[in-house]
């Protein structure tokens, strides 16, 4: 598959690139790069309003992205956003502000990315809303504590698959339990959609946020899928062009579809690029790749443990192929820089999940995350790179 990705023809520090920072962002296949380039070369225009040919092509290209999203994930509504973060903030403003008030409860978990913590803290500060955090025990959500926390909850926001540990949370149970108490459910699926095909309507969540760039699409674009019920409870958040029906000096009326949440000129080329990525990935057997990558990641985790590393990812069935680890004495940044010198890209730091780092009792980890184009030879290069680091730092 690497031949579909032009970036793998380059060298990094004189060595072939082994890219293992996929949980941060994925590489782009030629078809995505070409689609965006062709859009700017051939069809560039603004969407929705003008009657000329280019505007028609631009609108068609951009709206194809929404159509593919709705089809692939079986969703009633797909609002196109700048990414997962904006999608979650949109729920906080467009739904939270109008449906939550003083004394209401939002349930979050200690495993959340900052983008699924901070928007709720900001909302809670203004409206005296209570936030409850479900604890993480041994790298997994404490589901007994979750049930206790649900008492009186109006909204539950859970990361589907953790960006730090790769662990897939029992979202089906979480949704069933939440619905039983009448709570709406938001899934942060940024790390989930790259690894599994989700049927949004069947799963039964109310909101699902994710980003294009973690599934071989462009940066700067993502989506919020919304259930029919939740959509009727939302009010526009940003005002401007494209989201209105009529505007007079006395007041305005808004569009009734997703456009009412998409004020201003949208990310047109990115939409075209994401549509190309969605078509490309629809020909990929995610399930078999997932099994293959999880097996590679499990082997890597075992090899790291054998070399004295602490591995925090449990890599159970359904988890993403993410190996978060630390060496007892080598600083993660030194480790990652010495791997980079050998062409191997990994991530270090708190991965935008400081509460989870506190829980693990570390300030950061080294994270190797695998994706579709990675193979066993990447794992070999990574491990021999690790050995060279250990030798150099001995």
């Amino acid at each position: 598959m690497k031949q579909d990705f032009p970036i793998f023809s380059r060298l990094v520090n004189g060595k072939p690139l082994v890219y293992l920072d996929n949980a941060a962002t994925t590489q782009k296949p030629s078809c995505v790069i070409d689609a965006m380039s062709e859009f700017y070369s051939v069809s560039n225009a603004n969407v929705h309003r003008a009657v000329h040919t280019l505007a028609g092509e631009a609108t068609e290209g951009y709206e194809k992205c929404r159509k593919l999203l709705k089809q692939r994930y079986n969703a009633e509504y797909a609002v196109i956003t700048s990414g997962t973060t904006e999608a979650i903030n949109l729920v906080a403003h467009a739904w939270g502000k109008h449906n939550l008030s003083s004394g209401d409860v939002i349930v979050l978990t200690e495993m959340e990315h900052h983008s699924d913590i901070v928007p709720w803290q900001m909302l809670a500060e203004k409206s005296a809303i209570e936030i409850r955090y479900v604890p993480v025990t041994d790298g997994k959500l404490d589901m007994d504590a979750f049930e206790v926390a649900l008492e009186g909850a109006k909204l539950v926001c859970v990361v589907h698959t953790s960006n730090v540990l790769g662990v897939r949370n029992p979202v089906e149970d979480i949704i069933t339990l939440s619905k039983a108490v009448g709570a709406k459910v938001l899934l942060d699926a940024a790390q989930a959609v790259p690894h599994e095909l989700i049927d949004f309507r069947e799963l039964g969540a109310d909101f699902m946020a994710f980003s294009a760039h973690k599934m071989c699409g462009p940066t700067g674009i993502g989506a919020l899928l919304i259930s029919n019920d939740a959509f009727t409870e939302m009010e526009p958040f940003m005002g401007g062009g494209d989201m209105i029906d009529t505007v007079t000096l006395e007041g305005s009326t808004y569009q009734t579809n997703e456009h009412k949440f998409e004020a201003g000129t949208p990310r047109i080329a990115e939409g075209v690029g994401w549509a190309a990525a969605l078509e490309w990935i629809s020909n990929v057997d995610l399930e078999s790749h997932h099994t293959r990558l999880l097996s590679i990641a499990s082997d890597v985790a075992e090899q790291l443990r054998n070399r004295g590393m602490a591995v925090y990812s449990s890599l159970g069935p359904g988890d993403a192929a993410v190996v978060s680890f630390n060496h007892p004495t080598i600083h993660p940044e030194d480790f990652a820089r010495l791997l980079d010198a050998q062409g191997v890209a990994v991530r270090t730091g708190h991965h935008c999940a400081q509460p989870l780092m506190d829980k693990l009792g570390v300030s950061g980890t080294i994270r190797a995350s695998f994706y579709l184009y990675n193979d066993a030879s990447d794992a070999e290069v990574f491990l021999s790179g690790v050995d060279r680091v250990l030798e150099a730092m001995a």
Partner: protein, 136 residues
Amino acid sequence: MSWPVAIQELIEEFQDIDEQFERLEVLMEFSEEVEELPVESWNNHNLVKGCQSIAHIEIEMVEGKVWMKAAADAKMVQGLQGILSIAVNGSTPEEVLELTPEFAEEAGILNSLTPSRSNGFRTMFDMVQRNVREAM
């Protein structure tokens, strides 16, 4: 550009290295040049802000010459501090203020490190000059 002898030697040492891994290994060896700032002396005043890892730098004036004490948790930051020590220790404040961080670029140290670390070096360099200016 002409540099003081110690810095010129340092530039040449790095320029002789072809492989990035070896360059980083040599950089880490420079950690030995650092006069360590003991943990009990770490405070907010000598904390290097904007550095991804924990780093502290303190400047002392001894008989009119600049002396630097430093500490960091990452070995490569310690190495950068070692290089800074070579550049400033025993110099007059005026000499230190005349220095520019480009010598690290010329040595290929900045190019070989990612922006956050380069900024870390620049941040440390700026902090040294600021402290020297305050001490004058």
